[in-house]
Amino acid sequence: MEPIQLVQSVIFGIIMGGIYALVAMGLALVFGVMNVINFAHGDFVMLAMYITYFLSLMLTLDPILVPLITIPMFFVLGIGVYMGTLHKIVRGPALSQIAVTVGLMVLLRNVTLALWRAEPKAIQYTAVAGYFHVGPFIFPTSRLFGAVVSILTLVALHLFLTRTKLGLAIRATAEDADAASLFGVNVRNVYAFTFGLGTGLIALAGALIMTFQEVNPLSGLLYGLLSWVIVAMGGLGGVVGVFFSSIILAIAESIGITFWDPRAREIIIYLIFIILLWVRPTGLFAKR
């Protein structure tokens, strides 16, 4: 185990962790505020990746600019999905929520399969392609760009949740929906907005991932489970918990890929997940 190699894989881990944090944030928000179990989260990421691919091809647009279109689009899509399906069962049993979101997952998977076929798709051009050297270390530009955008977004989200009135209403609803509604918060609108916001974040995450990774209709499973691992690790510790969990997870993943086997990615992530559920079910950053 060379020290340079180790530092390099930690650097890769931190960069990827920044991106994973944005992928998981939408789920953390929806699960934390609405207590809704969304199994389709990863498949919304997959859909966002496909739409980024499609729009960048149709409009000959750099994928890093596509979110300007897709974020509002996914915000509206999220509100539509919430109103159409989840609103009915937002206080219902966990099993119905899982069943409905599994239905959404199968639906999204096969809609993308029908539209784009099973062959993996990748974008053709982006301004942030390539990599640069700093000393002996390599920095892939597209991933670094993704991590920076993601961290800026998370900071903005954190400020939004802690400094604005709407953010306060969201946090109050997360704490106790009934009490919040007694204080004049329209819980229904807060839920719809939160789901839309979560889906909007997914649109950005999908576009950033698309700059360096290909997509196929089955990509959703990995991003979905990955997000759940991060949420389990972060507990309900808010933006900060999600951020640090992502970094820790991505560093572990990166070291495992470098020194064991690149195909072992899932083994490392999911083993951490299962053992974490055994030893610390409240997560690493839970407040209570």
């Binding site: 639906l107 809609v111 489970l225 064991w260 195909r263 299962i274």
Partner: protein, 324 residues
């Protein structure tokens, strides 16, 4: 126990036992029929862990894969007949269920976290066998070609496999009835309704959840053993998360705890799905599963108790007509 409770099983047995004759032993239809019966078996076994005990298990793909691998490896490496291999595969799968289930229930992993960790198990095993190249790796390991010998259990005609799966389905259904109306069944239902309350009343929650998991994983392991004989190869991709998800979908659409409703739903929906596959699937890839997903969402939103209620009311009407 009341013998009448076993009667509806006959309603499954007779038409299915006649199926190969009705299609005059056509191999394509036998193949499709066997897969559907295998799925119905998995759904019936899943009913024990989720329908009775209320633990949303998404590990079916892992347990089926385990049965596939153990049976396949025993035959290919040590030339052990699948007649033994299938049973050993089932036992090994139950052992895996124990190794995972014991700490999971010991540390109180529940609901969505149980579902997710069992789904993660499928991916872990898939990648583990992919990386472990001495045993599996990325190449398909082929079983001996069709010879018709009983020792190798590789038949050109699939009717043997069909009747094996059918026998397993019937055993699973009988086991369901047996468990449902025994002390264990009532304990499991109590756990499903309210785990804390059951524990307060003196039910050993961990023990009975684990027991349900062991029975379920054993049966799913057996189906894997039958599957590998039909498929004729084993490969890490047979640890398939889709098996887990489809099992849960069929179980929920069929109705939780419905002993006959869930497997019947599996037979009907998978039959329709197969039909749609070669009618619609040729036009637009994936269209048959889009229909499927929409059915699932609609059933959960508007008929949360599942299709088994529909079957039950039809059955009652039929009985009432007969009484007139």
């Amino acid at each position: 126990m009341d013998k009448k409770k076993f009667l509806p099983t006959l309603a499954f047995l007779i038409p299915l036992a006649l199926y190969p004759i009705l299609i005059s032993f056509n191999n394509y239809f036998l193949n499709v029929g066997t897969f559907i019966v295998i799925y119905a078996t998995i759904v019936a076994a899943w009913n024990i862990i989720c329908g009775f005990a209320g633990q949303l298990d998404l590990g079916a793909g892992a347990y089926m894969g385990m049965g596939i691998f153990i049976t396949g490896i025993l035959l290919l490496w040590w030339n052990i007949t699948p007649l033994i291999g299938i049973i050993v595969g089932g036992l090994a799968t139950a052992a895996l269920g124990f190794v995972i289930g014991y700490p999971t229930f010991r540390f109180g992993v529940r609901e969505v976290w149980y579902a997710l960790s069992s789904l993660a198990l499928v991916s872990i095993l898939q990648k583990l066998f992919l990386v472990w190249e001495q045993v599996a790796g990325p190449v398909e390991r082929r079983l001996p070609y069709f010879s018709g010998e009983w020792y190798l259990m590789r038949f050109y005609n699939f009717s043997v496999y069909f009747y094996m799966s059918l026998a397993l389905l019937i055993i699973t259904l009988l086991l369901n009835v047996k468990i449902r109306y025994s002390k264990i069944g009532y304990y499991l239902l109590a756990i499903r309704e309210n785990e804390e309350a059951a524990e307060m009343l003196g039910v050993d929650v961990r023990k009975y959840k684990l027991l349900a998991l062991l029975i379920y994983s054993f049966i799913v392991g057996l189906t894997g053993g039958i599957f590998v004989l039909i498929a004729g190869y084993y490969h890490p991709s047979l640890f398939d998360p889709w098996v887990s998800i489809q099992t849960a979908i069929l179980g929920i659409v069929g109705g939780l705890g419905a002993i006959y409703g869930a497997p019947l739903t599996a037979l009907i929906i998978l039959g329709i799905q197969e039909y749609l596959r070669f009618t619609l699937g040729g036009i637009v890839q994936g269209l048959h599963l889009i229909v499927y997903a929409v059915i699932l969402i609609l059933v959960v939103l508007f008929k949360p108790e599942g299709l088994s209620e529909v079957f039950r009311s039809i059955y009652k009407k039929a009985v009432a007509l007969k009484a007139k």
